[in-house]
Amino acid sequence: MLTQRLLLSDRGGMLVLGLVLLTTIIVPILNLAVPTDSPLYVSNFTVGLLGKFLCFALLALSVDLIWGYAGILSLGHGAFFSLGGYAMGMYLMRQIGDRGVYGHPELMDFMVVLNWESLPWYWQGFDMFWFAMLMVLLVPGLLALVFGWLAFRSRVTGVYFAIITQALTYALMLAFFRNEMGFGGNNGLNDFKEILGFDLAAKTTRVGLFVASSIALILGYMACRYIVTSRMGRVIIAIRDAESRTRFSGYQVESYKLWLFVFSAMLAAVAGALYVPQVGIINPGEFSPLNSIEMVVWVATGGRGTLFGAIVGAFSVNYAKTFFTTFSPETWLFILGGLFVLVTLLLPKGIVGLFDRFSRKGDKQ
């Protein structure tokens, strides 16, 4: 019954997940077992890049869940992603121990520079992995809970919600830029050494993180799929299509939206937590409103309201970004900007919708 619901009725999703799974198996083999001079060899750079894309895909999934299914456009999902990343970054910083530039056994380098005497209270406990992972989920989850509760309770919807979420991430960006906040200010957290005792520079650790991201994506997809096909999911779609009517039918519209929003925020945070050890840095720039809005474009380009479309979008837009920023950086913003306009004007259902149009088998909501 559950397999029927989650897997079989979702052909597009299965295709995309199958590809993800295939990559997860093949790429580590080609990276670790094949000699470096072989044409089949997958470079470390590619592994890192694909790992990053997997995190972005998970992030896009979280955006699609609330935008595509509940019609809540959040322009501040980068905030949850970055908070998750910062929580992971704090764990990684604590792992550095006395190997920092100043060799202080407890304080981070930037704290030594600021002449701090002791570790601030909010850095306590982050030397334990389980605690850090708990914070990865709890901090963004709580922020989403409070923010969402305030917003949905007073029925802030549509563009107003979009704008205040954008203001939220903007405010957080400004706050994290401050040195006094104790998160490294402008430079953020970087220069990580190891995770769970594994050297972050080692090939096997990188592949391990890549596989972890891929598993997180698959599990995240399953969870989202489970939610949208459940009874709750149907109510959520009803809210998207006719909010007032759903409310008058006796559903607690606010709580549905709130829980979905919190879940989505946590999903974004997990993506952030997996992203940081792979790129080796987290700084306040991740909070910038432009990043958050880019995520929305991944979803729009892939096709909103399909979940697997978000994965397709995240991969294709980010691949294009990598390609253009190395090939001709000048054109990238033209292309990204053009994508915004063209997708909204001409491709409201995204790339996935394009395939549907050709195969004429649309079985979408």
């Binding site: 456009l73 923010f147 305030l150 917003a151 309770r153 007073s154 029925r155 802030v156 549509g158 563009v159 107003y160 979009a162 704008i163 205040i164 954008q166 203001a167 939220l168 903007y170 405010a171 400004l174 706050a175 830029f177 401050r178 409103p289 809005i293 929305v296 474009v297 729009a300 000048e330 913003l333 033209f334 990204l336 900007g337 053009g338 994508l339 915004f340 306009v341 997708v343 909204t344 004007l345 409201p348």
Partner: protein, 548 residues
């Protein structure tokens, strides 16, 4: 010979000079025309005398300086000031080029032309006795200068450098003839400072009384030293009381200054947001490219200055209509090209216009450069208006405040009193009905969007005077502008005014104790909480128009 009893030769010279100069001031027009009509052959001209400064020994130079003093020439004060400070340079040519140095800049002392970078200029040497002579002359020259600002500065300089018997005498002599109240007050303060140090008890009492009305730092210092160290208890308490009253007034002026800065910041927000109040507030279109329209306006100002380098003074006045036209056209193009296909789909409009903003930014980066462009401020807009020693206001901010209000009221007039405004309001309230009575709603949409965009461009002209003109200019304002419109209540121009001003004030009063960045964060958090409480803003629209 009133208060001066000991007449040294130098004093005699000084007084003679003062007399002479006063005479010159009184007979200035007559004197000038006489000079034009029949140049006295025996008398060397001012320019010749200045050239002579560079030659000869120190004694000859002293004589030249005395001769110079007989000339009523507005360049004299600057030249003598530079000579005292050792900033007067001369070349070895015949006749020598005389230049005034200020910082790294060199200007020709006679014709004012720019000599920066010129080689071979040597300092004209002065010794101590010449310096003393010059100081006295400069002080007198400035004290009797026809421009009251110059006189005020001179008195201020006395107050700063400390008033001695000599200057006190000079000031006492000047006092009865001084016409400007501001200068006269400053002279009072300077004399009181002198009396406080040297006078008898009654004079000192009177001096404390006078000084309690002065806002000079020196007055406070002098009073403080009396309040702390003086032997006379009564004088001490009087001085303490005077300091208290001064502090109270300083607090008051600080407050006024804060209010002004707050309003000035508010007017900047108002300018940035007011175009949005039309496109977002009245039409309901989320235009994320609004910031880039402001940027285009700012670049237009730069463009005008590059195209017409001779008209810098007029550049802003030319740029205002030019920026309005250009951005309005860009706006109409955006509306016709993209937005009109997306009416009724606000989230898609948001995304598409955001894409446009990226394209516009990158276009500017590619066309001009990613670096900031420098926009020159015309003379009339720079400088400060100093009301008293504690309170001074820069003209730029003052003009922007006035300009913001002017734009606001002009827009209000357009919306309430013109046919276009009527049609715009009709379409925004009930499109179908407006069409039914013959309003071309498509046309009105384009024009309204053009109007909002044009105002963004005009805002850009103003902003070019206070921020860096670069491709990221717009981004810095877009979130703030939306906040202003949402806070004020969508579709309400007055709400936009009130919210811009109050946000500016709140931000400015938070800044001193929270720091610039945290103040901004706090304001954003406050706004987010405020929107929870009143989702429709300070002044929500009422009635049928308010329905979604």
């Amino acid at each position: 010979m009133n208060s001066i009893c000991r007449l040294t030769p130098r004093h005699a010279v000084q007084q003679w000079l003062t007399r002479l100069l006063l005479l010159c001031v009184c007979s200035l027009p007559l004197h000038a025309s006489a000079q034009e009509a029949e140049p006295a052959p025996a008398q060397p001209t001012f320019d010749e005398l200045v050239s002579q400064l560079a030659t000869g020994n120190l004694r000859q130079r002293a004589a030249t300086v005395e001769q110079l003093a007989t000339h009523q020439d507005e360049r004299l004060a600057d030249i003598l000031n530079a000579l005292v400070a050792g900033d007067l340079l001369a070349s070895k040519d015949k006749p020598p080029v005389i230049a005034i140095r200020s910082g790294d800049q060199l200007t020709n002392a006679l014709d004012g032309s720019d000599l920066t970078g010129a080689a071979g200029l040597r300092r004209i040497p002065v010794n101590n006795s010449l310096r003393t002579q010059l100081r006295g002359m400069v002080a007198q020259l400035n004290l009797t200068h026809p421009n009251s600002d110059k006189r005020y500065d001179a008195v201020q300089r006395f107050i700063r450098d400390g008033v001695d018997g000599e200057t006190a005498a000079l000031l006492r002599e000047r006092q009865p003839t001084e016409g400007s109240g501001r200068v006269s007050d400053a002279i009072d303060a300077a004399l009181a400072l002198f009396d406080l140090q040297t006078g008898d008890r009654d004079q000192r009492m009177a001096a404390i009384d006078t000084l309690s009305g002065s806002l000079e730092q020196e007055a406070r210092n002098a009073l403080r030293s009396v309040a702390e160290n003086d032997e006379d208890a009564e004088l001490r308490s009087a001085a303490a009381k005077a300091i208290e009253s001064i502090q109270g007034r300083i607090e008051f002026y600080r407050f006024i200054e804060n209010v002004f800065f707050g309003l000035s910041l508010g007017s900047i927000l108002l300018l940035a947001a007011i175009g949005l109040a039309i496109t977002f507030g009245v039409m309901g279109v989320i235009n994320m490219a609004h910031g880039e329209l402001i940027m285009i306006g700012a670049y237009t100002t730069w463009g005008i200055q590059v195209l017409f380098p001779d008209l810098i003074e007029w550049s802003l006045l030319i740029a205002i209509p030019a920026a309005f036209l250009i951005t309005a056209l860009v706006g109409i193009a955006i509306e016709r090209g993209v937005i009109r296909f997306l009416y009724g789909r606000p989230l898609e409009t948001l995304l598409a216009t955001f894409g446009l903003s990226l394209v516009l930014q990158q276009a500017v980066r590619t066309l001009f450069s990613p670096l900031n462009r420098s926009v020159t401020s015309p003379e009339w807009i720079s400088g400060t208006l100093s009301i008293n020693p504690v309170l001074s206001i820069t003209y730029t901010r003052l003009y922007i405040l006035l300009f913001g209000l002017a734009v606001f009221f002009a827009l209000l007039l357009v919306m309430k009193r013109t046919t276009l405004g009527l049609k715009v309001r009709a379409v925004s309230q009930n499109r179908a009905m407006a069409r039914a009575v013959g309003v071309r709603s498509n046309w009105i949409d384009a024009l309204t969007f053009g109007l909002g965009s044009g105002i963004a461009g005009v805002a850009g002209v103003a902003l070019s005077q206070i921020t860096n003109v670069g491709p990221n200019l717009g981004q810095a304002y877009i979130i703030d502008s939306f906040m202003v419109v949402v806070f004020g209540g969508v579709g309400n121009l007055w709400g936009t005014l009130v919210s811009a001003m109050s946000l500016g004030l709140i931000n400015n009063f938070l800044e001193p104790w929270a720091g610039a960045m945290l103040a901004k964060v706090l304001v954003l958090i406050m706004l987010i909480l405020f929107i929870q409480k009143k989702p429709k803003g300070l002044f929500p629209q009422k009635g049928r128009a308010a329905a979604d």
